[in-house]
């Protein structure tokens, strides 16, 4: 089963392309992309059990740490790199994004939007760190160590000087809305996720 954001990623990826999924977990997205889009897939995953589960499924996955191991991949060796809700887990998300832009012609990024209305209200009203269905961890145990908002990410993309080929947000009902500019007030407020397609020569 794919998550709503993964379905949108799958729409973006072109048929028959070469893909690296950074933080691929047990490889369900890669499995889907190989079966439905005929892609040549490769995954990078830090958790040993998930890696052996993915390889046991017949996927090509390397056990490694995106923070350290992306640097060893060749320039533009992939058509697409996917960072599907994994950037916020990394120690050095900016560097990891730069590496992803180096190893692939296009990078598809999904970020959970910390500026989402529900999160804002949680913090505003309860005065505590948001714990929602999507962000289901207490602050002391969360793997998500680098949260940002859609607007924050737009600024990072600008800082890195990359082309933003597509930017959109996914609302509560799972619908994708494209937006332009730095992210409107609405996109940053009503987007549960932000989805971006970036490239850099």
């Amino acid at each position: 089963m794919l998550r709503a954001d993964q379905k949108i990623i799958a729409e973006v990826i072109e048929q028959g392309s070469k893909v690296i999924d950074i933080g691929c977990g047990q490889g369900s997205l890669l499995e889907y992309l190989e079966a439905e889009k005929g892609v040549s897939g490769h995954g990078l995953e830090i958790e040993a059990d998930r890696v052996s589960a993915a390889v046991s499924k017949g996927l090509s996955v390397v056990q490694g740490d995106a923070d350290n191991d992306l640097q060893y991949y060749s320039d533009k060796g992939f058509d697409y790199a996917i960072l599907g809700q994994t950037l916020q887990i990394m120690k050095h998300p900016k560097e990891a994004l730069e590496q992803a832009l180096r190893v692939a012609k296009r990078v598809v990024v999904v970020i959970p939007n910390f500026g989402y209305i529900q999160n804002r209200f949680y913090l505003l009203i309860k005065g505590r760190m948001p714990v929602t269905k999507e962000l289901s961890y207490q602050w002391y145990e969360t793997p998500n160590i680098h949260f940002c908002t859609i607007k924050d990410f737009v600024y990072l993309a600008k800082e890195l000087g990359c082309n933003v080929e597509r930017k959109s947000y996914v609302s509560k009902c799972g619908k994708e809305h494209k937006f332009s500019g730095d992210g409107t007030f609405a996109s940053n407020l009503f987007g549960e996720y932000g989805i971006f397609v970036l490239s850099k020569d």
């Binding site: 040993a48 390889v55 046991s56 017949g58 490694g64 991949y73």
Partner: protein, 392 residues
């Protein structure tokens, strides 16, 4: 297979010079000699191997299994010397991870070995005596070149997979570097692209233990009807410790005493671990040739795939379309995961098709020989993937 001329031969083993029949032996390099890395040329040499399963019509289902330092071709059948079951019985066989109902599995004894393949105890036809130390020094590359002659003789153009652990994994890497067009996939397990200083150090201890035994007779024990049993046993005891992990040893033996309730205040085998190691040493002496041990450990010491390719491991895998599945074990300190990661990084840098799994295990380097379900699942999944890729 039927057109090949194979024979069985008697060979001697252990301090009792027990005669045992070994098969199947083929003669390789009859028309053209094989040039070794040391510069020597060998021709019409015996090479022992065993096969399991049937080779299909288009010869596309062959898997080559490369054995480790003291392994041999008796992969899944009773060993002719020890009477024990095959060393990879859990992995290879009908319905197993490497399924012999589907695959034709080839397992040769390495060049320099002592179970039928050309090695130091082979009789030199010119002198009528064993070669002993006159046998040329061999390398992992030489082992693979000899295997390639066997694969040619079997009429196989492209192997479905080459797989092996430890020194077997070194051979797998050498295959991928030297004959990429001849293999669809490669599975180096608990391996490294080079022998480290620590690896060489342990081998040197092992060799010196043999050489220090007066019954080694400067390598000529077979002529003197002697046998460096003690030296070889100590070699094995040292090596055996390097194949296990501290936690594995502790789990298995702890500080338990052997057949006694208190220490003896002497140098007998008070502890279970001592008794276990002595037993391992004695058993090993019965089946392995001491000179062969010197030659094969040397071959591993000389292995440095990057050095052979201009100092850059990436060059070894350039223009290879081989799919790799690199596997290491968390508690393996002899061939630690970091060594496997070096291989994976070189493969990633050359945009190769690579998977890498570090399997959680407390069984140390020997984990690849023991029951590790996650390891089996990983190999099985990889094979399935290659089947799809190759269209088998």
């Amino acid at each position: 297979m039927s057109e090949l001329s194979l024979r069985k031969e008697k060979s001697i083993f252990g301090p009792s010079y027990k005669e045992v029949e070994i098969g199947d032996i083929i003669t390789l390099a009859e028309k053209e000699p094989l040039r070794l890395d040391c510069g020597a040329e060998i021709s019409s040499f015996p090479f022992a191997f065993r096969t399991y399963g049937e080779l299909n019509k288009d010869k596309s289902n062959a898997i080559l299994v490369c054995h480790g330092l003291t392994g041999d071709q008796y992969l899944i059948e009773t060993h002719p010397v020890t009477g024990k079951e095959g060393w990879w019985q859990d992995v290879v066989g009908s319905g197993k991870t490497i399924d012999t109902d589907k695959y034709f599995v080839i397992c040769p004894n390495v060049l320099g070995g002592c179970l039928g393949s050309y090695g130091p105890k082979e009789i030199n036809k010119e002198t009528g005596k064993p070669y002993n130390l006159d046998f040329p020094v061999i390398t992992i590359g030489d082992m693979v070149n000899a295997q390639k002659l066997l694969i040619d003789a079997l009429g196989i153009e492209k192997l479905f997979c080459v797989i092996g652990g430890s020194m077997g994994g070194m051979q797998v890497l050498e295959w991928a570097a030297s004959y990429p067009q001849m293999i669809h996939s490669a599975v180096p397990i608990a391996a490294a692209a080079r022998h480290t200083a620590q690896n060489i150090a342990f081998h040197e201890i092992g060799r010196q233990a043999i050489i220090a035994d007066p019954d080694w007779c400067e390598g000529n024990y077979l002529n003197e009807k002697k046998y460096p049993s003690k030296g070889l046993a100590v070699s094995r005891m040292t090596a055996h410790v390097t194949y296990l992990s501290e936690s594995g040893l502790h789990r298995k033996f702890g500080r338990e005493l052997q057949d006694r309730s208190e220490v003896s205040y002497g140098f007998g085998a008070d502890f279970q671990i001592e008794s276990y190691l002595r037993h391992q040493g004695i058993k090993f002496v019965e089946r392995f040739d001491p000179n062969s041990y010197l030659y094969i450990t040397r071959a591993m010491d000389y292995f440095d795939l990057a050095e052979d390719h201009g100092g850059d491991l990436r060059n070894a895998f350039k223009e290879s379309d081989t799919a790799f599945c690199v596997i290491s074990f968390t508690s393996d300190w002899l061939f630690p995961s970091e060594e496997s990661k070096q291989i994976v990084r070189a493969l990633a840098a050359t945009s190769s098709d690579v998977s890498f799994v570090e399997i959680e295990s407390d069984k140390g380097h020997d984990a690849f020989l023991l029951e590790e379900p996650k390891f089996y699942e990983t190999v099985a999944g990889f094979i399935k993937r290659i089947e799809k890729k190759v269209g088998l």
